[in-house]
Symmetry: C3
Subunit: 146 residues, 3 copies
């Protein structure tokens, strides 16, 4: 009786241990790993904006759009990428339609006296771009600075 | 007796497991997570130096200065940021006073024949900036390249 | 008898737990941690190519070439670094000889109509540079963008 109880409990402890370890590694219990990457856009250079959008597209083409979470965070001098009149506005629209999350930094917008009316209607918002980038990495996301 | 001993030991094992898993994730046992970020400064551009200092300040304002460890590591062409006569010297002083760790790469200093007398008195030193940046990430710090 | 069985099993469970936690942290069971870093090269600037090679060399000098895995991934505008006629070709050769893995993005090569005959014979290849950089970080490698 004691022995059977012990074996059951030991098995339960071992299962829980494996589950916790898998979660610590960001893997599911099935062992598959979801790709996650945050792309920083803090440059005023439209060439860089195109590069960032190319990088996002290449990632989706390479691993499959449904297998990767991509977030582009624009802040500081990079905020222009997400303005209504941005030269890459239609490409930003396409990226959002393809499942890329594109986020503007509200801190930067306040500093540059921009409102949501000045911005591409497809984008989302975060209070502080740099905090978002830090938090995503802490949650296990990869980082890319084009 | 055997049963009571077993239950006590199983509980102890489970506690230890949870503690180890929490440490692997960089969280405390209370579940709160301390923010940690290393900011690379390897550009000779004073505009970038101001951006890096803005990023550090915004992070502190956003999550609270006591909740985030920030380290700015200057090396290669970025070392000029931390010289005595740097155009951002007073801002570097302010950052250090606000709790940001600002570190100069001694490798770079040797290469550029700089001594500590040439540097801002508020900064600290690391033997190799690039190694510091690598190690911090290995310890779970987020990375930012302004 | 039950008690001895229990103590043996509890010890085995504890060992397994520690091993799993060590693996989650990327450390060996001896407690030593191998350094790993992926260096992104996505700029067309030969000055940056030299910086990246300096960074790799400094890392090897600082922690010992046998203690660090370094991978330089060139893609987009950075692919020129790895061409046959690159101004840093001989330094790339030296880096590879010193144990640095240097990889060209085949996506970029297709886009720029480059074949392996156009490239430095010392380099290796990956299907997509940005995916390689993402995956390495997911495996616990540090990231550096010179």
């Amino acid at each position: 009786m004691n022995r059977r109880l012990f074996i059951q409990a030991a098995a339960a402890t071992a299962s829980a241990t494996l589950l916790i370890a898998a979660q610590a590694q960001g893997t599911g219990t099935s062992g598959t790993k979801r790709h996650k990457i945050v792309i920083q856009m803090s440059d005023a250079d439209p060439g860089k904006w195109n590069l960032a959008l190319n990088n996002a597209k290449n990632l989706q083409d390479d691993v499959g759009a449904t297998n990767v979470d991509i977030e582009i965070v624009a802040y500081g001098p990079g905020i222009g990428m997400l303005k209504l009149e941005s030269p890459v506005a239609s490409r930003v629209d396409d990226a959002v339609k393809a499942g890329v999350k594109v986020l503007a930094c509200e801190n930067t917008m306040r500093g540059q006296k921009l409102t949501k009316d000045d911005m591409n209607g497809a984008v989302g918002y975060v209070p502080a771009g740099v905090t978002e980038i830090m938090k995503k990495q802490a949650e296990g996301w990869a980082y890319l600075r084009p």
